[in-house]
Symmetry: none
Subunit: 275 residues, 2 copies
Amino acid sequence: MLITQLVKARGDRLTATDRRLVAVLQAQPAEAAFWYAAELTEPLGLHQSAATRMAQRLGFDGYPQLRDALRQDYLAGDGPSQRVRGLLERHPDDVLRGFVDDEVAALSALPQHVAQAELDDLAAQIVAAGHVYLFAQGNAAVLADLLARRLRRFGMRSTVLTGADRELAERLSALQPGDLLLACAFRRVPSALAPVLEIAASGGAFTALITDTLLTLSPQPDVILAAPRGGDDYLSLTVPMAIANALVLTIARQAPEQSIGSLDHLGALLERFAR
Amino acid sequence: MLITQLVKARGDRLTATDRRLVAVLQAQPAEAAFWYAAELTEPLGLHQSAATRMAQRLGFDGYPQLRDALRQDYLAGDGPSQRVRGLLERHPDDVLRGFVDDEVAALSALPQHVAQAELDDLAAQIVAAGHVYLFAQGNAAVLADLLARRLRRFGMRSTVLTGADRELAERLSALQPGDLLLACAFRRVPSALAPVLEIAASGGAFTALITDTLLTLSPQPDVILAAPRGGDDYLSLTVPMAIANALVLTIARQAPEQSIGSLDHLGALLERFAR
DNA sequence: CGCTCAATGCAAGTGAGTTTGCATCTAGCG
DNA sequence: CGCTAGATGCAAACTCACTTGCATTGAGCG
């Protein structure tokens, strides 16, 4: 994309305000191609001259010249005609486009498979839980890591359960009634999942599972959030990660004082490190 | 299409010249939405006032009003911003739906920001590299982990660079010419990034960066793959993860015997564990 | 054949959008 | 702490696209 190339080449001259404007141009290329300077700057509370100066810092005579360039770029590369072409004939060489198409399709379908009400339920359980255990094996481990990071930011305590059996058993030995186990597993059932679920359930913990197709397990988790992933051969974590993110957002919504307060606390701690 | 509707309704008042102009508007709706009156009329050897008068005969105050209508019609119908419509009617309580909308929008735009050719270049460098160093801090660390896992499956050696300065320095001490550094950084520049890039570059390594907005760094990486992430407040890793996945797929495509062979090898090893 | 009306080109006038000099403010630096 | 350089807002000046009155042309019609 032209605007990205321009920033790569001349970005060192840009100010913070310029970058805010550029971000808008990147996010809304079609609309921005029509805008006057004021239409670009006013939503950001900036004067229209900011647009002129950003354009000049990017090497153009003025803002209209930048806009012309954006129009050309938009019509040449990303115009609607190109788009339709893209959807019809699959791109044999464009791995990125093909992959993105699959991912978008899978992601768009996610709300049909997971209801907000289910997220609300699980979020409430997590907010109420004493300690959260996150189980994952293999690639799914990055999901558990991500969830652990986000929960930590909210001031919630969690333990990531990864690795071999002995490791798992050790970590689970601290489990108490009122705790919660959230497992992430895809395609195949990890051999450790059944015992972990059993231990958690018999220990009085609430159990939940984020998965793609693993709908029948024994013991059955209390909550299952399941949505198919896109693509056939290469399975990404986009869809389950979206579930995880939406879950985090739902938690933040349910316990705003706790989550926001924790972020403030985090900021204060960070400043003490910066000294 | 709007212009067709207008002619149906008011076409009886149009002159022969008007119809020639309308035909151009119908044939090139995307381009015409940008044109000044003169740009529309001059290719036909007509004066710009012809545009004004055609617009008036179609019921508009003047030519700019007609053009605005064409733009609206273009953006609403054929344009890529049907997603904007989805973003307007926001779901206040459905966190999942809102989040998915943002993510789909950002992901759809990804191919506009990163070209397959760029992925091809970087993939070739990675295939040729002796050792791959993956740098990431904070949330981005999950990305580095994911890349490390995928590369490992292809039989490529990699080192994840996370954590504090001393740790980084130790790991980097093994860096050799012909190695490759792939950094992941978003929104803010991690303080360790500049020295790491410097060390890698001066050590003869190829340097690359996956990012959202960090386009200007010193030293500048050899390759930058940049695409904005969706949403305003909550920034997910969906878009950068898609870049990473597409990169992995591109590598697999470029070095099929190596990547597939490694997977076979992995399967054989797994069986020996299962015994 | 000449009259009338509508269409079109021309060019001056108008107004919206853009640029730019100036003043203010902030951050970096000695 | 004061100084300098750069960034930003403001407002006047300016540019340029658009409109409109007028003149010309051509077609239709008595």
